[in-house]
């Protein structure tokens, strides 16, 4: 079986600095992959190159390959918009659309693209909010502003918004870093459930979180992929000295 996402020799440059250096990584379907590493090592940069979010950053240059189901996504004839519909993204800080209601935020991907019927939208809103365990908390105020929600609720709303467009892969960049432990716990539970349908790649600073939610863990340092393997192995018997130092908290 070909991996869902393959990263081959991927490098990302920002004008002068090389933020990601020839990274190779395979991600299997329906797995959770955690990317860990000290601040500034290029985790976000790597993650954002998987759904072509660097396209609009002036000065960013991506070389190497990213394959989705064996197809290269950086080819000239590939539309980044279609790639992003298949590879969704959840950001570090919850970023619901402030001018939209909770309801509209969930179906924002459809509304902004002008294609949804009311009945369909109702169904999507209910099922997605149920899947992120937010339905009971907001079902009586779907038309109120999304900004009235707590940070954790906002982040779950952002996840609902992402799964509403039925992506195949979900990228998460430190989705819990702005949340308290209880909200974090809820998101982790959610990731466990989402794994049945989606392939998930998550960047996290929280080692326990990586250990709890992921099947595969990748350790990055100074733009390079130092080690990548089964989470249990990385956390118990890492092959690389740097990995060991990092997960035992000796640096970073």
């Amino acid at each position: 079986m070909t991996p869902k996402v393959q990263i081959e020799n991927l490098s990302v440059h920002f004008s002068k600095t090389e933020a990601v250096k020839s990274v190779n990584m395979d991600v299997d379907e329906n797995s959770v992959t955690a990317i860990i590493g000290p601040s500034g090592c290029g985790k976000s940069t790597l993650l954002r190159s998987i759904n072509r979010m660097h396209d609009l950053v002036s000065g960013a240059k991506v070389s190497g390959k990213v394959l989705l189901d064996g197809e290269s996504i950086y080819e000239k004839n590939v539309d980044p918009v279609l790639i992003r519909r298949k590879i969704g993204m959840v950001f570090q800080k919850p970023n619901p659309f402030p001018a939209m209601s909770i309801y509209d935020n969930v179906v924002a991907g459809y509304k902004l693209n002008n294609r949804i019927k009311k009945r369909e939208a109702d169904e999507i809103v209910e099922s997605c909010l149920k899947r992120v365990a937010l339905w009971d908390e907001v079902k009586d105020r779907l038309k109120t502003s999304a900004m009235d929600l707590s940070g954790g609720q906002q982040q779950r709303l952002c996840i609902a918004r992402t799964i509403a467009i039925q992506p195949e892969v979900i990228l998460m960049d430190e989705p819990c870093s702005a949340l308290d432990p209880i909200a974090t716990y809820k998101i982790e539970e959610l990731i466990d459930e989402l794994q049945e349908r989606y392939t998930i790649i998550i960047v996290t600073h929280n080692m326990q979180q990586a250990a709890r939610v992921s099947d595969i863990t990748a350790f990055m340092y100074l733009g390079e992929m130092v080690e990548c393997g089964p989470t249990s192995k990385i956390f118990t018997t890492p092959e690389n000295k740097q990995t060991e130092d990092y997960i035992t908290g000796r640096f970073g």
């Binding site: 759904n51 979010m53 609009l56 002036s58 918009v81 279609l82 992003r84 519909r85 969704g88 993204m89 950001f91 800080k93 970023n95 619901p96 659309f97 402030p98 001018a99 924002a108 991907g109 902004l112 693209n113 952002c158 918004r161 992402t162 467009i165």
Partner: protein, 275 residues
């Protein structure tokens, strides 16, 4: 202790000079307001708003054609100027560092600094000469040329303030770039953009010079856009420099109406900016 006294003294001095400076700034404004109200109020009557100017030897008459003409030209110049200004601003905010964007920005700044009488001459050459007639369209083009750089730069400032996280949220949902620009970025900045629009409308509503040899003015009703059309600022100008008392009265009334219009637009702009 001495130095403390000295400091108090200095501080008092600065406060007093600031108060004086404020009064000096406010004084002309109050003077203008009081004077215009005093002179203009007596001219305001139902007739003033419903009839056209009368010959100088008859009393009464109004500026109805100028009010309507100004309204028509404001609408047309907005139809020309707003799309260009707003879409241009979206382009500028999306291509912040591009060389073409800096070039446009430079052009807009130059255009904003051009004396409005010259803008009128440009519209004369562009519209009046080819169509061989002074016209409302020519006046509107001149006003639009003044409006564009104002809308462009104020809207750009507002658009730039929309956080990147919103743009990314939309892009990551598979929304194309141009849709993101219009439906997410422009929409979130709309309050501020509308403020900019209102301020630019207030600015051109009072412009006289660019209309002198474009719209030209008209003593009568005219609904044809390719014909000379009356405008309130032009009427104020023409009546004020005339030697007739009746027309002077109309000029004062017109000035009062114009000031009230400007004042309301500015208030509206403020309230929009605050939301």
């Amino acid at each position: 202790m001495r130095s403390l006294h000295l400091r108090h003294f200095k501080s008092g001095l600065v406060v007093i000079s600031m108060i004086i400076a404020t009064i000096i700034v406010l004084l002309p404004l109050c003077f203008i307001f009081v004077n215009i109200i005093k002179m203009g109020l007596s001219s305001l009557s139902p007739e003033f708003f419903t009839s056209i100017p009368k010959p100088p030897d008859e009393s009464g008459g109004g500026v109805a054609n100028g009010l309507v003409g100004s309204g028509i030209m404001l609408v047309i110049s907005s139809l020309i100027g707003l799309p260009i200004g707003i879409l241009g601003a979206v382009y500028l905010s999306e291509h912040r560092h591009g060389t073409f964007a800096s070039f446009i920005r430079f052009c807009a700044d130059v255009l904003a600094g051009v004396p409005s009488i010259i803008t009128g001459m440009v519209a004369y050459v562009l519209v009046v000469v080819p169509f061989k007639s002074f016209s409302a369209i020519a006046g509107s083009v001149a006003l639009a040329l003044i409006m564009i750089p104002i809308v462009l730069r104020t809207a750009e400032e507002q658009l730039k303030m929309v956080p990147d996280t919103l743009r990314e949220a939309s892009l990551a949902l598979g929304v194309p770039h141009w849709r993101t620009s219009l439906k997410v970025i422009l929409k979130s900045a709309m309050g501020g953009v509308i403020t900019g629009i209102l301020l630019s409308v207030a600015r051109i509503a009072g412009e006289t010079a660019p209309l002198l040899f474009t719209a030209l003015g008209n003593q009568f009703w005219n609904w044809k856009l390719m014909q000379p059309m009356a405008a309130l600022p032009l009427q104020i100008f023409n009546f004020a420099i005339s030697p007739y008392d009746g027309w002077h009265k109309l000029a004062w009334g017109g000035a009062l109406v114009l000031v009230i219009i400007m004042f309301s637009i500015n208030l509206a702009a403020k309230s929009f900016g605050r939301r």
